[in-house]
């Protein structure tokens, strides 16, 4: 047994309102640079929908993740090592920028500088951030939000194709009949990362201490195999630097004991961060179980119980610090995944053993119970209704349990039972014992789960032990010494020292954005940044 700790996340989808605060703060922190205009380390998608990049879940097309070969051995879906090297010259599985979206920018000057007394209203138009030409905005990191176009393209959602037909027929896309939920996505920091395994130059790695998956910017040679190998499409090409970039799990913050920026700023307080202990030697076997529906339990079995004295002993022997062990004991992620068993991994069938898990959304259940004329404190009524939701349980099952609807239904029942139990206790002062029996949990457990999910105190959502390294203090000091930026400054944590050939992270006076590359924006005479394109005639 080789015991390791992994910083992991759980998102409670029930509480996600799709406000995109996580996406925006992440973008501002990490990808507000040239070359990464189209990159969202964190994006929020609307489901059902085809997502960003389009159809990314369709692995018959993109060949991301792992599969078992004829002999039952785990191989990358895109093929073996030799096959990958033969495809270095042109990667057939690489999404193009149009599969993500063409990034746009606007010339707001035309509004600001409009002369007084115009009879027609000036209009700013979108210009491509890639070419400067006028363009039509046609897709984005969450185009389907608010049902944008879902009635036309929603049926292309790859999850629907895999669902049983009669269940798929229940998913409606017409306005007033449809129902949607939001799915925030970041890098999964997998235990069995396909991107790391596909990287020809060995530039991608998983950190031993906390399991964060990173790209070594100095070693990346731009072979772009990681982009196609990741089934979640969460590794991106920076087209200005020619290198791969991905979600860093905000490791400079994690090392200092702070939550990631997406978690910190989450308005709905739906993200949970904590560490999980796991056995590295068990990873390969767990990812190789023959039946996709066993992957969930197999992955849970890789995690080690932090309360088990034998595990604690092994962890101490492996040199794990005491405060990490304490953090593992109080980890909200461990509780949601392994104790309450209400968190599920996103697409376990990709066999990457992802480490960002989700509590599936319950929202419409109790309404549906009422609408069906049933009693929402009656266990049977609630459990029956869960099977008849507008978003069929089968759809959630395609996302979170490799199609095993019973698993998702079981989780939803726990959540519904918790609500009904708490309602009965708070309003009537009664204890709904039959609800507890139905889900096999004790009253104490349900109330602790309620506290973690509904009250969701900051200190209970985020249990992150500080990094044990002499670097930690230095990293903090470095961040603090930059008065105007914390993480993305030149030479900042994880970022490369600014050299002549490197894109700067902030536009500074007089900077050309990229040598040899005409900047789209330039400093205007009044000191503000403006586009160099002529809004009327295209490129100036």
């Amino acid at each position: 047994m080789r015991i390791r700790a992994q910083v992991a996340m759980v998102m409670n989808l029930d509480k996600c309102i799709g406000c995109h605060t996580c996406s925006v703060t992440c973008k501002q922190t990490w990808t507000n640079r040239e070359g990464t205009e189209y990159v969202w380390f964190n994006n929020v998608e609307t489901k059902p929908g085809i997502g960003y990049p389009k159809h990314y879940e369709d692995q018959d097309r993109w060949h991301g993740g792992w599969k078992l070969d004829g002999k039952g051995r785990l191989t990358l879906r895109s093929g073996g090592r030799i096959k990958r090297l033969t495809r270095l010259f042109a990667n057939p599985d690489l999404p193009s920028i149009d599969d993500y979206y063409e990034p746009a920018t606007f010339d707001k000057d035309i509004l600001v500088n409009a002369p007084a007394g115009l009879t027609d209203t000036p209009v700013k138009r979108p210009h491509s951030a890639l070419t400067g030409e006028p363009m039509a905005v046609q897709w984005g990191p969450n185009w389907e939000d608010g049902l944008g176009g879902t009635h036309e393209i929603g049926a292309q959602d790859p999850n629907l194709a895999r669902m049983p037909a009669e269940a798929a027929a229940k998913v409606r896309f017409e306005f007033e009949k449809t129902f949607m939920f939001h799915l925030p996505r970041i890098c999964e920091h997998c235990l069995n990362p396909a991107c790391v395994s596909a990287c020809p130059s060995g530039a991608m790695y998983k950190r031993e201490e906390d399991g964060i998956v990173l790209v070594d910017q100095d070693r990346c040679r731009g072979w772009r195999m990681c982009v196609s190998a990741c089934p979640y499409k969460k590794v991106y090409v920076n087209h200005a630097t020619g290198k791969a970039e991905k979600c860093t799990f905000c490791f400079p913050r994690i090392e200092a004991g702070q939550p990631t920026i997406c978690s910190e700023t989450c308005v709905g307080r739906l993200r949970y961060l904590g560490i999980v202990l796991y056995d590295e030697d068990a990873v390969l076997a767990a990812a190789s179980v023959p039946d996709e529906r066993d992957l969930l339990d197999a992955q849970r079995a890789v995690f080690l119980d932090p309360a088990d004295p034998a595990v604690q002993e092994a962890a101490r022997e492996a040199g794990m610090p005491e405060d990490w062990l304490r953090a593992a004991l109080t980890s909200p992620v461990w509780r949601l995944i392994s104790e309450y068993k209400i968190a599920l991994p996103l697409h376990p069938e990709y066999r990457t053993l992802p480490m960002v898990w989700y509590v599936p959304p319950l929202s419409p259940v109790l309404d549906a119970v009422g609408a069906a004329g049933r009693d929402d404190t009656d266990a049977d009524d609630v459990f029956h209704t869960i099977r008849e939701l507008r978003i069929p349980v089968e759809y959630l099952a395609e996302l979170f349990s490799a199609g095993d609807a019973d698993v998702v239904a079981g989780v939803l029942m726990k959540l519904a039972a918790m609500r009904s139990y708490m309602r009965a206790r708070t309003l009537d002062g009664t204890v709904a014992g039959e609800l507890l029996d139905g889900i096999g949990m004790t009253a104490e457990q349900v109330e602790a789960m309620y506290r973690l999910l509904a009250i969701a105190k900051y200190d209970e959502r985020y249990v992150i032990p500080v990094a044990h390294s002499k670097d930690a203090a230095a990293l903090e000091a470095q961040a603090a010494a930059q008065p105007d930026c914390s993480l993305d400054c030149a030479g900042g944590p994880g970022m490369h020292e600014t050299a002549a050939t490197v894109t700067r992270f902030h536009l500074v006076d007089g900077d050309e954005v990229h040598p040899g590359r005409a900047g789209l924006s330039a400093r205007r005479s009044d000191g503000r940044l403006g586009l160099t394109v002529n809004p009327v005639r295209g490129a100036s």
Partner: protein
Amino acid sequence: MNTLVWIVLPYLCLAVFAAGHVWRWRRDQFGWTTHTSQLLENRLLRLGSPLFHLGAFGVIGGHAMGLLVPSWVTEAAGISEHLYHVTAVWGGTITGVALVTGLALLIARRFVSGRVRRVTTTMDKVLYAALAAMVTLGMVSTVGVNLLGDGYDYRETIAVWFRGIFWLRPEPELMSGAPLVYQLHALGGFLFLALWPFTRLVHVWSAPLAYLWRPYVVYRRRRGGVPTPPPVPAEVRDRALPAVSGRR
């Protein structure tokens, strides 16, 4: 003049080639990349890039065969002059055509696609121009002189001169008799080597062959890593603040 062009210049170019790579490797790991633009344009690249690369492998192999293998070795191996000539000319023509087609497609996409045009650096343009010039000269000497023309036995002159450079016994007089295309191609070749370390061509040396043997998942330990209890963030910040204001 002979000495300058056929001795000094080659050694100068080789020195720049070597020193340039050392400098680039030490100073610019971040810029050491293929600088892929497949994300921005895939249609032309899908055809052009494999053609170009496979053609280049063939052409490089052909050059190695022609320049590094002395004629007495092939003769000793029982390969007749005629057989060698036919192999060299036809092999060179086929790989050359692949290279030319690929290069043409790759250059075309720099013009056709506005997205790719925008990310094309000055060094890229220099590289494409140099490649185009070299490939044209090479094709003229292979197809024009050896296939369609009277032919020229470079193995007795150019190849000997080329090997002489590395044996530190250069014989410039061997080159003065060669046809002009061959002279230009040989000179251009050395200039091209001098340009090499400053272009994206450095990615050639990072060909990821080690990938075939390494374990799939790479684990790395964070550098440093001596367990010391770190101070709370606010403490560090307060300590750092006077230093910041002092620097202003």
